[in-house]
Symmetry: D2
């Protein structure tokens, strides 16, 4: 599969410049960025914690949560992109490989309609 | 700023097809996907938890962690993209707005070299 | 309220000895332990991510998840206790104060049957 | 080992009463509580994300973070205790078993001074 799955070049450049202008590279070790990513995912989780699954489908349009959902998704995306950049990981190559691995782990017939983890799926 | 910061169209389509073929849309409520994202970030965090900050810079090239780092970054990216799609959030628009908000919150002069959160930065 | 809410003395001592015997104090900075705690909570989250709320009530008795639930709850408890010890925080005093603060934030009448965060509750 | 490692009876009772008075049992499915726990750990993580390991040792005494550290540790403890209660898991038994399992996984001689995960420790 040679198709581009994700392109983060624009954001990567913008985040490099943002950090450079503020002399923040010193704080942006992968360890610290992984923690920051984790903190933002925690904030995203809090939005959904008391919602039913059904209600969660409307979280991005409901007035009381729409902006927060958008903000937290953006924060997660930004720290993820910055972390991949600092680590030197090509996100497009990484997810291309992962999707191929997932397709092998979860064959359509065995995985249909079940949420079981791949190591517990029935073997053909 | 009209530049594209992130383009996830390819991955979004691939993930839709992946879920559709396996009849997994039923599991992919935003609430559940937020949990799955959180679980993957937990796995990413575990890679870095006992590393020094200095060592963490080499995590994507050190033989004992390189593959795991790549895999977990990919998993985080995939669940993030799938979650944004199910919620109907345009990630590029969301991070464009967030970067602009961050630039206003962290003026270059006040924020240089300090990691203080914006509501505690010195006001000019 | 002078009642003991939590007593972690036994576990605190056992964890100190465990770390001391293995010369692991060097790894147990609060920063690292917070990451380890976060990683374990991620593993706990993964158990529940595809379950319905209704099914989640049986997670500690269902054969496929009972042991994992118990193990992950224990891991979270152990890292929490170790982290509080290394930081010098008295967990019993901390949760006693927090419960009192929560009671003030969520008055019975205003909070009954609503999951709204305290800063959005109707004021009497 | 018959010693009590942790005793959460007081907090368990207090949290039951707190939820009952507010009719919050309806929100307290294990799935939701696992998310709430995850959110609080995210807030705890944010306190430490830009700190060096060395500075993190003073987080509970430094004026700018002392109260937040205490509050977040308490929140994590409270949701953990509530989650264990709703699931019917005896935290003391669970951590007693886990500590014994950890002692077997990390023999003193093999584990001394190394943070390697047990499945990668040198076998004697």
């Amino acid at each position: 599969m040679n198709r581009t799955l994700i392109d983060v070049d624009g954001a990567t450049q913008a985040l490099r410049q943002f950090a450079h202008e503020r002399d923040w590279q010193q704080f942006h070790s992968p360890k610290n960025l992984a923690m920051a990513l984790s903190g933002e995912v925690g904030e995203l989780t809090e939005i959904f914690q008391w919602m039913t699954e059904a209600d969660s489908h409307a979280a991005a349009s409901a007035p009381s949560t729409a902006q927060a959902v958008r903000d937290e998704l953006a924060d997660v995306a930004l720290y993820l992109i910055r972390l991949a950049d600092v680590l030197g990981v090509d996100l497009n190559a990484a997810i291309t490989d992962k999707l191929a691995a997932n397709a092998a782990r979860y064959p359509v017939e065995a995985a249909r309609g079940v949420s079981t983890k791949y190591d517990r799926l029935p073997r053909s």
